[in-house]
Symmetry: D5
Subunit: 79 residues, 10 copies
């Protein structure tokens, strides 16, 4: 299992709808936080070895309602 | 009570309407300043412990008329 | 009197109309330059003590035809 | 043969269509990866000496469906 | 009285010493917060009309122990 | 309990020592990842309500051996 | 004669039309290159002493078909 | 005569010495301001046609005591 | 096998020594290019599934002579 | 022959020595300009097909006295 962090900038006023949708409908999204800073949300995802991370971000995160931009950070090792 | 600073970039020419609306209609906005620099406004908010800061920013600040972008900075400690 | 510098990014091809309009119609604009770099114009304004600088920028500069973005720098002291 | 790297930001949700199209229809695209970070794709291209790289990027990469922005990096020497 | 916000980046590990020193020894510093984001501290200062803001920042804030960089934002109007 | 994310840029070659030290010696650090992108590490911390987050970052994270810069992002709400 | 460099970001797929138009129809454009990096084109212009550089950029370069953004760099001295 | 704006970042605490030195000892510096934002000073210079601007900035501004970085913006036309 | 791209900024004048050392002494470095843009080198690495990517970058790339900064981009899928 | 543009940030006060040295001692440097903006110099180089551009930049430009940073832009096509 790989750990992926996706920071999401949402359309103004939509972040909480996007977050709720992500938790509810996107299987591998494990944790979703609204956050301080430039991005509205930080999603922590656990991606099975056999799932293409890029496809997951493109098809499942970027297509959530209210998403305006995404920045992905992959965890190499959990200490 | 937590102290939150929200820098707001407004639609061109709208900053003062946004500011007036914020002071008037958004309960936890304590101070609003028009400012130098890249952002038009700086809002200082006092957020009760039981209120979700992210929800406040998303639903109450980002939906104010004239808002184009927001950047949130949370105060950890007031000295 | 306070000295304010406003860098202005204009709609493509409009900078000289914006500049002419500023000099002609905006009272406290003292000098306007087209400039090298990322911004198209640099406006030097003298703002009387009783005039709100933020209001001036928002209502008088940002609403000039052709303005796309503004960045304000206030002079604290003239040596 | 010259080696060119093109980072591509795609319209939300389109990266995998863009990638598939690139591999299928753009002759000199050698490798395409979906990637972490701000860009969605990284394309590695081998450009024959007699082909204009700028023209290739402009006409063949930028016109792929779903492309929103491109950043090109040329390899000077392969060690 | 003018309201000035100074964001301060400190030497690693020094922010709380800098903050304590500011509150204790710098007269016009009204509020100091440790904050989220790239800067360590946000100082809110009330500057009398007869005091040069630039001089205040340069001589009194930038010379506090542990300061590594400063970014100043002036409030034009308090709504 | 509050959730805090701290991105850490380390001295070249030191990230894994910093990470090991963090996990071992800093009580509220819950998860530490080495990551892709500009920063070397991402630390997820759970901070008790009575602990000052700014003090924690300044005194416990920034003083870890090998730390060169930090960027803090606070989670407002966990969905 | 002054030497001016204008970096041009074009609409996706349009850079070569813009370049051809510039060479053909803009008198003081001396050299035009498609380039690596974030911008699509670099134009080297020789501007007679009696011609306003800002006006030239605004009216003749920014109005070329396909231009999306410009960044101007003036040469002070040719060694 | 050409108008040149030079933004100057100074060593911490030195901006006012740098400004005083500039006004006193650098002939073509016409106005010097301490300013809000990331830079400490903004210098407005009038440069005779026969003086090399780059040489002026390099040899006379950058060598002032306390200068840490400079950013030059040339005025093309004064409206 | 995972594909990793590491952009490397080197000490001035050292890039080619760093590149040679990387190709010669770092097992999983597959291709090294000197490149246009802000970074000096782009390294393409194939990392076996059982090797920690973060550890590889930290211990083997960042410790190469002449390295000044690194930026890592992971390929999720090769099309 | 390939056309290469190298923007050079110099040590404070050194740009003109660096430029003179470049013109005098670096064979493929064709034109050197001191420029407006963040960089001090822009060098236009003509690089023979058999010369490694990266090696040229690393060994001949970056090692000039006074160089602090370089940014290279390659011309793909001259219109």
């Amino acid at each position: 299992m790989r750990t992926l962090f996706v920071q999401v900038k949402c359309e103004l006023g939509d972040a909480y709808k996007t977050a709720a949708e992500a938790i509810e409908s996107v299987e591998h999204v494990s944790e979703v936080y609204s956050t301080s800073g430039q991005y509205d949300l930080l999603m922590k995802c656990y991606i099975p070895e056999d799932l293409d991370i890029g496809h997951f971000v493109t098809e499942q995160i970027q297509r959530l309602p209210g998403v305006r931009d995404t920045f992905t950070t992959l965890a190499f090792k959990a200490f």
